[in-house]
């Protein structure tokens, strides 16, 4: 241990002269810039600079990675992505796979958000009851949250493969085995199931924290009035949990719209394009296809960014409305 702390001391002392000098030049309070500097530089180079460059990519064409070598094309990239002869028919679009991926993403997000809210709410309510071994049970639901998306996908791929446990179940029940991931409807179904399985514990934990923050005396008052449990749930628990529910709703949406890893490993976006989502489209167009169409990928990410911004604004709106409602009560 002493070797370790000696090493730490040596390491930190290396920076001492820099900060002594900084203190002399900048003064006692502006030295804060020196402390915040490294973090700011990293953010500037890897987040803010890319945001600006992304705009350049979105309005230029060609296959060159260097922005200076790319011909200006205006809104051509957006037109390529979004133009359709007939908007009721995805086949007629110039890039039908992109619009299909948007359609899939929206469908996936809406289905997932409803199921996720339902299951995490029920689980949180059950965990909030007086049960033996709450810590253990909470851990049970939380464990998959920590697993990497690749591992999650492989676990389920193994269960769903043609000789997997689900097919064994089907066969023992006398049915024919299925190719679960090669049927477009089943593949979509399992993608939803797997993402709920993997992330439910996180939202359960947020809702559980909200439930535990509800003061006990409210429930005692309800008990005094002999309020039936159904009414306690609808009049006390759910309204008081509303801020947390909104947070969960928006978080689920923001995450769902960006779904990539698990689905990419589980189905590869297929069969066909049944489970291809927006981020996968960006990845394929910009990096995985033979010709790297950076402009299209950047334009698609701008469209995704607009969607995410709308969701964030909705969250701010909703949580403000929620707070205003609280004050009134």
């Amino acid at each position: 241990m002493s070797v370790f702390s000696a090493f730490l001391g040596f390491f930190f002392n290396l920076f001492e002269p820099v900060f002594r000098l900084g203190q002399k030049w900048l003064g006692a309070s502006r030295i804060g810039w020196l402390f915040v500097g490294p973090n700011l530089v990293v953010i500037g180079i890897f987040t803010f600079l890319p945001i600006v460059i992304n705009l350049v990519y979105a309005v230029t064409g060609g296959v060159n990675l260097l922005p200076t070598q790319r011909p200006f094309t205006g809104v051509e990239n957006f037109a390529t992505l979004l133009e359709c002869r007939d908007y009721t028919d995805l086949q007629s679009c110039r890039t039908d796979i992109f619009l299909r991926s948007i359609f899939n993403t929206v469908k996936f997000s809406l289905i997932q958000v409803v199921l996720m809210l339902f299951f995490s709410l029920v689980t949180a309510l059950v965990l909030n009851r007086k049960i033996i071994g709450r810590g253990f049970w909470r851990g049970v639901f939380f464990y998959p949250v920590l697993l990497s998306p690749v591992v999650v996908a492989l676990i389920w791929k193994w269960l769903l493969q043609s000789q997997g446990v689900f097919n064994a179940g089907l066969v023992t029940m006398g049915a024919q085995p299925m190719e679960w991931l090669l049927d477009r409807h089943w593949a979509f179904f399992w993608v939803v199931v797997v993402s709920i399985w993997a992330h439910m514990g996180f939202y359960t934990l947020i809702l559980l924290a909200g439930l535990q923050a509800i003061p006990k005396d409210v429930y005692e008052a309800a008990e005094m009035d002999a309020a039936p449990p159904r009414r306690v749930l609808s009049r006390i628990t759910l309204p008081l949990l509303m801020p947390n529910l909104i947070v969960v709703l928006v978080l689920v949406m923001i995450r769902a719209v960006q779904t990539f890893d698990e689905v990419f490993v589980l189905t590869g976006g297929g069969p066909g394009s049944a489970t291809t989502f927006i981020v996968q489209y960006i990845y394929l167009t910009g990096f995985a296809e033979q010709i790297h169409l950076y402009g299209l990928a950047a334009a698609a990410s701008l469209i995704l960014a607009v969607g995410l911004m709308a969701l964030t604004l909705a969250q701010l709106r909703l949580s403000k409305a929620g707070e205003a409602g609280k004050v009134k009560k």
Binding site: F12, L205, V247
Partner: protein, 351 residues
Amino acid sequence: MANFLTRTRGRVHGRTSLHWTDWVSYAYLLAGLIVMFGPVLWLVMSSFKTESALSQFPPSFLPYSQKEVVVAGHDKPLPLYRAKDEQGQTRELAQVRRIGIVATMVDPAQPQTEIRVNIKDRQPVNELKFASGNYTELFAKFSFGTYLWNSVFITVVATLITLLFNSMAAFALSKYQFTGQKTVFVLIIATLMIPPTIILVPAFLVISSMGLLNNLWGVILPAVATPTGVFLLRQYMLTIPDELLEAARMDNASEWRIYWRIILPLAAPAMAVLAIFSFMWRWNDFLWPLIVLSRSEHFTLQLALNAFQGELNTQWHYLLAMTVITLIPITLVFTFLQKYIATGIASAGVK
């Protein structure tokens, strides 16, 4: 439904008997246990099966494999069957060879007399055996050690730098007042709303023009300035009394010394939470490494898993073992540090 969901206290009278809502709750939890842990357990069990056991259908939960015996006069161990001999008696016989529907078998006790058995009349003798071959062969057959090392290197180095940079920034934002401080804080927190998925192309340009493509540092550097880390540490450092800093300044300590001798040790609990989170983020990272690291000698475990599940579609026995190794560190974190993770989520809503 609503009834059992809202009951937060047990029955006041007659504690000994469980209300029916309690039964429903425990049933729900038990179902949850099976659904949540079942798939992982199935994977772990499968990873101990031999290749031939994996191809059996319907599959068994425990790793059963066919028993083999060494018979005098044969170099390789022979598979054991329970078979009917010519007299119609059921005996345990070892199979020497099989031609068409006729198997030639011997009794391990009397290896000289060969017995011919119709293959319909024999059943394999299975035994419970945890085969470790899938694991040991990983290191010999693939450059698995390299992937493991890459993952460990990225995770450890990125976490250390994250702790250093984020704690410095948090210190500046909680213990100083300087012009522009608010803006800096807002800028850092604003990056929470810019997920990496929307700046993939330009971030790729930045990395490639820095010459960091196919370089582990190309994965590490963009990840070290986490907004959640700064936020978490700043909130914690705000609770450290300023008097401590004043006292140290009286003793003529430099600001840097105050930071690492006073603030850092006091912020250790929050640093621990961030360390755990950073560890999980980096260990599980997928999309960004997938773009930056395209040569297999730079693959992390996650990338190797992804590559192999495409290539080795028939080699599930290796893939399963590799998956299990990848989930071990996270499972250890989960088992021993769950409390800290729950704290982190409750205080900053991070994941």
